[in-house]
Symmetry: C2
Subunit: 193 residues, 2 copies
Amino acid sequence: MKTKDRILDTALTLFNQQGTAAVSTNHIADAAGISPGNLYYHYKNKEEIIGALFERLFAAWAVGFDLPTDQMPTLADVERLVRENFRIVHQYAFIHRELVALLRSDSALHDRFIAVRARGLDGFREIVGALEMSGVLKPLAAPDEVAQLANLCWLISEFWVSSLEVSGQTVDDDGMQRGVDLMLYALKPYLNG
Amino acid sequence: MKTKDRILDTALTLFNQQGTAAVSTNHIADAAGISPGNLYYHYKNKEEIIGALFERLFAAWAVGFDLPTDQMPTLADVERLVRENFRIVHQYAFIHRELVALLRSDSALHDRFIAVRARGLDGFREIVGALEMSGVLKPLAAPDEVAQLANLCWLISEFWVSSLEVSGQTVDDDGMQRGVDLMLYALKPYLNG
DNA sequence: GTCTATATCGCGATAGAC
DNA sequence: GTCTATCGCGATATAGAC
């Protein structure tokens, strides 16, 4: 399983640099130092390569998103979570740059993505709920306030990197920190103490 | 200038349906009921067509974003603004679906977009500032609070439609209303009265 | 598993008649 | 302004040898 993985590594680099449209299977094979035929031995087509990279992304999310279950989450945990997400999103930059378009052209992938995303958003809601329970957040009046607050944080965590790119800013530690700051600002009115 | 515009109308429809990668100049010409050669008489290439559609988007923004200058803006104005933006973003859906990728492959367009976007964000900051002045919002402690609050609203207004699409929800009045609600929720802690 | 060779296709773009 | 015809290219994908 060496070549198969190297194809993915190479494809990820090229996709991130030039976008999926500009990168052909020939380019990938060439950059990976193998023949076009060999690439097609390992993957049916470009779509399957993209799908495999999505699976890598999902795996990275699964690793990055597990919180200690034996203790209540803190605000620092949320911060770490969002920062980690920015890092992953940036690592698979091409996916988020072309996300809506990619999902529209592969409905099976779209279904899979929706499921993974829903789990992530659920997790976020649980964390916000736990923060309220543990007193980090003030008691929220309406029950759907938890959901709204989670939605807000989620939107930032999902699109902040895109926002940086669209506005011509570099996606570095500093830019990511501003995203974290914005999320903390959104939470501030609800913080205790 | 009849054909030239019909090419744009057709291209917009096809791009929104299938994405820029899947739509060739031949497809556009065919759907517009003209020959490929004729299309190239009016536009140098596909990139120029995409650029022209961006200009249409900018024009729509310019029209949709002017507020009455003779009186202070109200919260309802902001609501209207965001809702109008959702409508425009959805009308030029393909642009926001592929935004980062499109801008990366055309640096002149990127510069232009950044300038237009910066003006829009500035306008948003002014409105938030005016809301504070007129007492709709409570006095904000730090001077950069205005900017943070504007950033937050801007992020929602820019990416809410994408968020709907990514999560598999339809982009209809109801979905857009939930985006407006989220923005109002973000503003709520700072509202007077 | 990996290569070379090749078939097929359609895209982008231009030339030249009308 | 609009058409038809066409060239050149590169992309996807497969066949078959090693």
